[in-house]
Amino acid sequence: MEKVECIVVGGGLAGLSAAYGLADAGVEVMVLERGDYSGAKNVTGGRLYASPIRSFYPELWEEAPFERAVARELVTMLGDGAQTTIEVASDRFTADPPQSYTVLRARFDQWLAEKVGEKGGMVVPNMKVDALLREEGRIIGIRAGEDEIGADVVIVAEGVLRLLSSEAGLAAEPVDRDHALGFKEVIELPPGVIEDRWHLNPGEGAAQLFLGNVTDGMLGGGFLYTNKESISLGVVVGMKAMRERAEKAKPQDASESYQLLDRFKALPQIRPLVAGGTVAEYSAHAIPEGGIAAVPKLAGDGYLMAGDAAGLALNALITVRGMDFAIASGYYAAEAVKAAKARADFSAAGLAGYEASLRGSFVLKDLQTASQIPAFMENPRLFTHYPRAVSRLLEQIYTVGPGPTPGLFKTAWGGIRRDFMNTGTVKDAWSARRI
């Protein structure tokens, strides 16, 4: 059997980050990517938090093809006909260097693949891996079509669906409870229009999340990220919630999940944001949202798991992260493989440094901190009652009707008593203390 030192399954951000570190250290590495190029099968919402990963490969990020540095953060609570937006702009978001950027993957991943090539790594596009080869409990290589290729170590960065690792018994099959579906349109708009609509300086971007009247009461929300010459507008919805909805649906209910985005886009609050835009692409992807409880065993004899395949993603309601985790896990995977190579020990013990580094880094620490969030988010009131109640309260405060207007305090107190002073809210607040 032909053999290389390291095979990376999947040329997304986790796989490429690992390959970059390995190629840079002179390890023979081959990345197998099933798309036409890295990024061709990938979808992001799209924002990459750069601050957590800037110290890895610092030479890379200066020239990375980011779309816009995020200067404005917006959260919109969509009620029935009323909405409330909280907008935060801080000089420090875009201070040198900015903390986060919007990203489009076709461009970004292709660029990183080129960088891997420049370091001497081999990235093979259009190559689907069909199986991980297992011998006496150890991963010894891969099979692609008729060809079996051996490796000292395989970095499994195959993405969220884990088709190969679950088949090889390295990780569980993905389940609905731990995953969400994200789908989006990329809508082209001139840069000047984007900057006007979101009050941005040239080159700066906005990230806007939407809760409430987006997902029909299901776990999830809407998102909008401004790219250079387009916006990414989409919906994320929990798979378990979708399946439960399908269970309850009447046969004549012909509604389908994709319509959530159409309805979202047609809301009077959203229409002006997308007006005049041209839809250029439609995409969808599964998102790991199981938190730390759904992270599989990260390493074993002859293999490491990285990125989405390892469940390394975090939806913390306000901050949604995955790409920084992918790049970080790839970096630590490369470090672990280099160390294993130095000792010529690619067993689970030889690769154990990987999990230790992830535990010591933001990756598993932040997932641990957020360990209660997945359960917290199963509360449907988050996606129905609260966005509505907040908007209703503020709407009443701002309303001047034909008759006498009650005092501000009376209006506010009435609204708070009505929507926030009940056992449900007290319980929700109590469970929120742990997030």
Binding site: E2, L32, D36, Y37, V124, P125, M127, G145, I149
Partner: protein, 259 residues
């Protein structure tokens, strides 16, 4: 039989978007031309049946992505490759490309057959094959849908409107092939890995003894825009039968349907 296959790197046309009538080629991958793959597959089948070697030859025209494309040709099954890369070739027209290819073929140690796709995937001028044949002074068969080796010659079949023509040409010769000739193989991972160690010659115009002035473009591309589609936006009203009648009448009036 020693075969040279002339190949070109093309943007993957299926991946090109059109924005304001202009092609968006940013982030579009470059690939071996579709018909070039047919030519290469033809060469592989001839070699595997009768022995010999295959050299893939390409002209860079200022495109650095050529190295990836050549690897694709080697992975499919070419034994070696030669790339002519020279800054003077940026914007080269078909005449210039043919001159360079002919010089490259002459520089190679031996060549019995030069194969081409009938045209390139992108510009599809279809000129390069016949021009190279002329410059090399060898017979040429265009649009072959079958190529077989026979003693000291190749027998080619091509489809003319209502008949099939079979031609036999003595080697050395040049042949261009059409897409029906075969289904090009998809390189396996093993072949892609082995392609890394196959020899690739890198030549400049000076190496070929071609004068930079001789490849200066004599053609200027004035514009390259997507076709504009204008629709008439006619709405037919009335019952289904009335709408159908009105629709058919309108099509007849437009000359789309015959009377």
């Amino acid at each position: 039989m020693d075969i040279v296959v002339c190949v070109k790197t093309n943007p993957d046309l299926q991946m090109v978007r059109v924005k304001n009538r202009e092609a968006v080629v940013e982030a579009v991958p470059y690939k071996l031309g579709d018909l070039d793959k047919n030519a290469l597959e033809t060469a592989i089948q001839l070699r595997d049946a009768a022995g010999g070697t295959i050299t893939a030859v390409s002209v860079a025209e200022g495109n650095r992505k050529i190295r990836e494309t050549i690897k694709e040709a080697l992975a499919m099954g070419a034994d070696s490759a030669a790339v002519v890369d020279d800054p003077a070739l940026a914007g080269a027209d078909p005449a210039a490309v043919a001159a360079v290819l002919a010089a490259a073929v002459k520089k190679l140690p031996g060549c019995d057959l030069v194969l081409f796709g009938e045209g390139s995937t992108d510009n599809y001028s279809g000129q390069v094959g016949p021009r190279v044949a002329e410059l090399l002074g060898v017979p040429q068969v265009g649009f072959a849908r079958k190529v077989e080796a026979v003693d000291g010659a190749v027998r080619c079949e091509r489809s003319m409107d209502e008949m099939i023509e079979t031609l036999e040409v003595a080697l050395p010769a040049a042949v261009t092939v059409v897409s029906e000739i075969n289904e090009p193989r998809i390189p396996s991972l093993m072949h892609i890995m082995k392609a890394k160690s196959k020899p690739v010659e890198e030549w400049t115009l000076a190496d070929l003894g071609v004068d930079a002035g001789a490849v200066a473009a004599r053609r200027e591309i004035v514009s390259n825009l997507a076709e504009e589609q204008d629709r008439k936006h006619v709405l037919f009203e009335g019952s289904a039968a009335e709408q159908a009648d009105a629709f058919v009448n309108a099509l007849i009036k437009e000359g789309v349907l015959g009377r």
